[in-house]
Symmetry: C2
Subunit: 358 residues, 2 copies
């Protein structure tokens, strides 16, 4: 663990990093999975393990937890003796509330000298037992979704630099992984690029950003404008999309983020075989074509020149062979490069982007 | 003033009124116009004068104020001697912040025994001088945009009862007036109907509702669902629309409200001759047809049976004769009833709604 820096920090790769707030989370982390029952709810923990494996020293699961993110199961005491500095709540739920059953574990963690990191809507310091335990031990309660900054309302003004936004037909389909992978692919090609985190997990991974769904709705677009400010003409902001235009609970967030991001390029995140919108009943996923069409129609408001430049396929439920077939079928259908960012990265899409924007 | 009730209160006309919070504003009101320069920014004051004239006893204007809402100019002292109980901030600005120059007037009002009512985003009690003056005098600071209730995220579940939503190509174009007029027209026709306020002025007029643009974005649709709960099959909720799908700052709010409202019917608010989106630069208004088309496309997600049932024309800048010509032209263009809610009410639209939904 000796090589791990004291806190996460975003890489410096552009002229305006100073405008993006830093979120300081002491490392390494113990990931709390609680009583999590489904994979989608553990996306924070999975995301940290996928993209910041070196910062995660173990997972803490309650007896009825059905999820395993592939770390050693450790107690709070074991974790601290291994050097853990923060307990990170690695699960989410609709609404973002902290379960009463979790509080005693969090108090134990604070008493053991860990900071507590949460991506929930509910503020940790609103829970008296946690506030008191943090005070008693001199530990920090870190709410990733809390924004101390006041944003302006959106202006719609065209900014310099290039922007790509990942969008999709549903939540938890791969928008964050795709954006992180595109940032990596662009950098590997020698292009200046910055991942712009817009959700709690993305902010934890990047060490900066804004949880856009926690912003007061009047300021969503303005916050998104702030997140990807004017930049060099050849610099790419790779913006993590949120929600879906087809989700009855979250489409408004998707629109506010999209309009403020004014993307030059859209990457569509798609999961072959997924039929229904998650976390609500009776909403079917749109076809890939309908998804592209509506996203393009909405994005044109703040960037009439927007183009769809590729499809990121989430083939996590398919075999390697099935995935290859699915990806080829998507490329044939839409005439754009398609790749699975986890299996193969996104070099194909990054090259195509550079080709059409140079 | 003797006949005025002690506080505003919504009329009781449906099974579920108890679910809608009451906002208590002691009446009558002195309306504060500050240094307002443009009519659109005084929409709160104009709205109260239009719909609650009997509750407004005067206006307070600073020397550089360019707006007159048609009330007597009175000082704070004159207002209190005439029985005023609240100073209502009757102007808005982008971002909803309280100007430093206003604070001394507000302190004077609190010292004179008035409560202070604000529809701004910024909380009155965040301003130390106001907090102290309210405490000192035992007066109330009433923030219309503050929500003490926790909302759930949206479910997209179909609710019973009927809903009509007013939408339009821009802000400050007549969505609130149209909704208030449609409520009145439906009631005049013997139909159970409730205006559902979604903005600070609407909440002040109705005495209840939610300022949807002050809701954390993840909960917009859920809050809109809460605002028009299950109801009798023949009951109409008449929901005040917000923003515009074509506004680069606020379209996300419009979408969240629309999806949560799951309208059966849309009424399009239109201003003949308006060319540009307000409060931003370089955004043109869409055509009436494009406005209908995009609103219908987005509304179908949570109510595939949605219909556009009429156009409310804002002809405030036209002569009576010009207005008549404009209204006839709109009816010819879209084949739907069109009326100006302020000049003539909305009986035509209400009758058409009842015809196609019976």
């Amino acid at each position: 663990m000796a090589k791990i820096e004291k806190t996460t920090s975003a890489s410096k790769n552009s002229v305006e990093d100073q405008t993006n707030e830093q979120v300081l989370m002491p490392v390494p982390y113990l990931l709390f999975l609680g009583d999590c029952q489904i994979e989608e709810a553990a996306k924070t923990a999975f995301g940290l393990v996928q993209w910041r494996r070196e910062l995660c020293i173990g997972q803490l699961r309650l007896s009825d937890c059905k999820i395993d993110v592939g770390l050693s199961d450790v107690t709070i005491q074991q974790a601290t003796s291994m050097g853990a500095k923060s307990l990170v709540i690695g699960v989410v739920n609709a609404g973002g509330f902290i379960s009463d059953e979790w509080v005693s574990y969090f108090v134990e963690a604070l008493d053991a000298g860990l900071d507590l990191v949460s991506g929930m809507h509910q503020s940790l310091s609103d829970i008296p037992a946690l506030k008191e335990a943090a005070r008693r031990n001199g530990q920090k309660l870190i709410d990733i979704r809390s924004n101390t900054r006041n944003f302006e309302t959106g202006t719609g003004r065209k900014r310099s630099g290039k922007r790509v936004l990942t969008v999709g037909p549903d939540c938890a389909i791969g928008k964050k992984y795709s954006a992180l992978s595109i940032e990596q692919s662009l950098r590997d090609l020698g292009v200046k690029a910055d991942f712009r985190a817009t959700g709690q997990t993305g902010v934890m991974i990047a060490g900066r950003g804004i949880a856009i769904d926690a912003i007061v709705s009047d300021f969503m677009a303005g916050a998104a404008e702030w997140l990807s400010p004017d930049n060099d003409p050849d610099h790419w902001d790779v913006i993590e999309g949120q929600g879906s235009l087809f989700h009855p609970a979250y489409a408004g967030v998707s629109v506010g983020l999209m309009h403020g991001s004014q993307p030059d390029a859209l990457v569509i995140c798609h999961q072959p075989g997924r039929k229904n919108i998650i976390s609500v009943e009776n909403y079917e996923l749109p076809s890939l074509r309908d998804c592209i069409e509506l996203n393009m129609a909405m994005a044109k408001l703040t960037n009439p020149a927007v183009k769809t430049v590729g499809v990121c396929a989430n083939t996590s439920k398919l075999s390697a062979q099935e995935a290859e077939v699915a990806i080829r079928a998507i490329e044939d259908e839409v005439g754009l490069p398609c790749c699975d960012p986890v299996r193969e990265g996104t070099e194909k899409i990054a090259k195509y982007m550079l080709e059409i924007y140079n």
